[in-house]
């Protein structure tokens, strides 16, 4: 049966009707102009139609930590958040550092079928930062890995980082760096600042991120490769990225919803749901990150969705885990931080949450124009919605969402993945 989406606002710009047959968009025409008696009709008046969202940075935890998340539960959370593709980070148990593991994750994603799950391969064996993993084998596997990352750990050894950047040129890969100088951040707990001194929590200085970003930008320029910076969190990183882009270095960067929205003051509660790596920074950093995202200095928003079971998040700060969930709230946080504030349009949201991430991940099925003969991957948003987040109302297995009890603007209403509703009127279609 075909689907007719009537009178939705295409990226907030013009009202259109969209006719979907099987997995394809077969017709896009001005609002309320298409008649099709056989189609299931949805009135999207007042709603925004975006291309399905693409996340470059998701922790699905399977294999290994199925108590925190599985490919199935993470996919459901993604569908609820408007995503049609996610990139599963490599820090599973075992680590996704071989063709075997990435194919397993790829296949699990296909089996669940709520989003496309693209595995990220580890850069080094076991994320240990010692020896390169078999990057080429992962690239050539059925999972067709293009993004490699030791996320959670920084590839801090300069020569190893250089070699990785060089090696992936053979198959047009990109190294996604978790920029954190390990020596400057030993036992680090929160942003290093006046506040960390007062709270007695070991500081994670901005320079520990910026020094690695600067080094890797220079290395990338030197070996003419491609670099992606994970979860940029500081004003200084923005400055370096701006410089690198002016010099035409092939570097892209992501920012998380939480770094666009939450500052270090939340750490005063010693509530570990605000513990994340890189840490929440200052209001000044937030303002610079928002500006950089609007200007394209930071290319994309990525969630760094990092589920953890309750017992790993309710104890003392220093023994609790780093990370926050974010798939289900990402679009709303971006809308609240960027659209409500008039820093970005809905078309910009489509760029930073779908088109650009798909381009970085080299995905041919996602981030495409909403036009005839394109795959029907769509995210439909109610821009007037205002809702209070309940961390326990989630499809994720974990509830460590830092936006709990906060009020956000805009909400994803429907998600269409390859021509089928994966979420319809707020209900995930499992």
């Amino acid at each position: 049966m075909s689907i007719l989406l009537k009178n939705g606002s295409l990226k907030g710009e013009k009202n259109v009707d969209i006719l979907i047959e099987k997995d394809l968009i077969v017709k896009v025409a001005p609002g309320n102009s298409i008649k099709d008696d056989k189609a299931e009709v949805f009135d999207l008046t007042g709603l925004i139609v975006l291309p399905g969202l693409v996340d470059l940075h998701t922790h699905l935890r399977e294999p290994g930590r199925e108590d925190a998340e599985t490919v199935a539960t993470g996919s459901a959370a993604a569908a609820r958040g408007g995503f049609t593709a996610v990139h599963a980070m490599a820090n599973t148990l075992p680590v996704a550092d071989t063709a075997g593991v990435v194919e397993q994750v790829w296949n699990l994603g296909r089996k669940v079928g709520l989003v496309d799950v693209y595995p990220v391969g580890a850069v080094t064996v076991g994320l240990k930062g010692e020896n390169l993993a078999e990057l080429s084998a992962m690239a050539e596997s059925t999972a067709r890995v293009r993004i490699f990352s030791d996320d959670g750990f920084c590839v801090s050894d300069s020569i190893l980082m250089r070699r990785a950047l060089e090696y992936v040129k053979a198959f047009d890969g990109v190294i996604a760096q978790h920029a954190q100088d390990p020596r400057l951040t030993q036992n680090a707990q929160m942003n290093e600042s006046e506040l960390s001194g007062k709270l007695g929590l070991t500081g994670w200085p901005a320079v520990a991120e910026e020094a690695i970003v600067a080094r890797d930008v220079l290395l990338t320029e030197h070996v003419k490769s491609k670099l992606h910076i994970c979860h940029a969190s500081t004003a200084g990183t923005v400055e370096i990225l701006r410089w690198a882009k002016e010099k035409k270095v092939n570097v892209t960067a992501e920012v998380t919803p939480h770094h666009l929205f939450l500052s270090e003051v939340h750490c005063q509660s010693y509530d570990a749901k605000f513990k994340v790596n890189p840490p929440l920074r200052t209001d000044k950093d937030i303002q610079e990150l928002r500006k950089a995202l609007a200007q394209g200095v930071i290319d994309v928003v990525a969630t760094d969705h990092a589920p953890h079971p309750t017992e790993d998040k309710e104890g003392e700060w220093s023994s609790s885990s780093f990370g926050m969930t974010g798939l289900e709230t990402a679009l709303s946080v971006v809308a609240t931080a960027m659209v409500e504030t008039k820093l970005m349009s809905w078309s910009d949201v489509a760029r930073v949450m779908s088109e650009k991430p798909a381009e970085i991940g080299q995905l041919s099925d996602h981030g495409r124009p909403i036009a005839e003969n394109e795959l029907a991957n769509l995210c439909i948003v109610d821009p007037k919605a205002s809702w209070k987040v309940d961390a326990h109302d989630t499809h994720s297995l974990s509830s460590n969402n830092p936006f709990h009890d906060m009020t956000l603007k805009s909400k994803v209403v429907h998600t269409i993945f390859r021509g089928k509703f994966t979420m319809k009127s707020g209900q995930v279609q499992k």
Binding site: Q189, S196, L199, L201, Y270, G315, W317
Partner: protein, 317 residues
């Protein structure tokens, strides 16, 4: 007063003076042949120590016993780190046992704050030192000691200058003292090599300096902090000898201080490192007296929070 004592920030100037005045009265108990008051009879105080600290624990134990409270010592060293019982489970266990007060020492900054704010227990929470955060009763006993000698054991500490010397970065004693001294009207001066001062020290309550010799002549008291063994080989300073030369308190330096100036140390001392034996045993030194005052001040805190007439219970932080 607030219900819990987690941070020196929990005390207003009036609260702090009330604690010191109460401690003064209770100190007389310690001078009697029978060192006991019936005030807290039937109340249960739990010493919940996740970190070894014999000195602080026995000080609280003596304080509780002199007020006739029942004392339970709960040593849970390392349990959270080793994935044993969680803080929450421990707290709920104590709740079930009917603890009226929990004196907590924990290696993780903020653990007492969680205990006081998470609704796991009804007991009052007294912070006996958490990570590199705070140690408010130490600050109270230091203030008591200073007041006794320099302010005739009355009122606040207005006008006094106090140097705090050593590992400010990692010291909970320094943090609580900086706050409380300011609250009581004194001016704390942090003295350390730049590596041992936290980022943002400029905005702390008070002044700071890298030069001990420049500071000593103008202060009324100096608190020497212990240099922890684990800092000694972590590039905070080149050698222990160089540290000692620049930041150790020796007899020569003591001579540059004012006659009335006091020397304090929270103990245990590294004699020869941050303080020489000569200074530790000099007439300016009140280190031994600090220990006795610790018991009186902790009695006052327990008395005021658990049974005192000025306790507006229910008011939470």
């Amino acid at each position: 007063m607030k219900k819990h004592l987690v941070s020196a920030h929990d005390l207003t100037a009036e609260d702090a003076v009330l604690v010191l005045d109460t401690a003064k009265e209770l100190a007389q108990v310690s001078d009697r042949p029978v060192k006991k008051l019936p005030t807290l009879r039937g109340r249960t105080v739990v010493n919940l120590f996740f970190e070894d600290s014999t000195r602080t624990r026995i000080s609280f134990e003596a304080a509780s016993k002199r007020l006739s409270a029942d004392v339970i010592n709960f040593s849970a060293k390392g349990s959270s780190v080793s994935k044993g019982e969680s803080l929450k489970d421990t707290a709920q266990t104590l709740q079930s046992m009917g603890a009226d007060a929990v004196v907590i020492r924990h290696g993780s900054s903020g653990a007492p704050y969680l205990l006081a704010t998470k609704n796991w227990i009804d007991a009052i929470v007294i912070n006996a030192g958490d990570g590199t955060h705070e140690h408010p009763t130490q600050a109270l006993l230091d203030a008591y000691t200073i007041r006794k000698h320099l302010k005739n054991n009355e009122g606040d500490l207005k006008g006094l200058k106090i140097a705090i010397v050593g590992d400010i970065l990692h010291s909970r004693v320094a943090r609580s003292n900086a706050i409380l001294l300011k609250t009581l009207g004194a001016t704390p001066i942090m003295v350390a090599p730049p590596t041992l001062l936290p980022v943002g020290i400029d905005s702390w309550n008070g002044e700071y300096s890298y030069d001990l010799d420049e500071v000593l002549p103008k202060v009324d008291a100096v608190m020497m902090l212990r240099v922890q063994q684990e800092r000694m080989n972590a590039a905070y300073f080149p050698t222990t000898r160089e540290y000692s030369r620049n930041f150790g308190l020796n007899a020569q330096r003591l001579k540059t201080m004012q006659k009335h100036a006091l020397v304090l140390h929270p103990g245990p001392m590294n004699r020869g490192m941050e303080i020489t034996a000569e200074v530790a045993d000099s007439t300016n030194s009140v280190v031994i007296e600090q220990v006795a005052n610790g018991v009186s001040v902790r009695m006052a805190v327990l008395y005021l929070l658990l049974g005192g007439t000025n306790n507006e219970s229910g008011e939470n932080n």
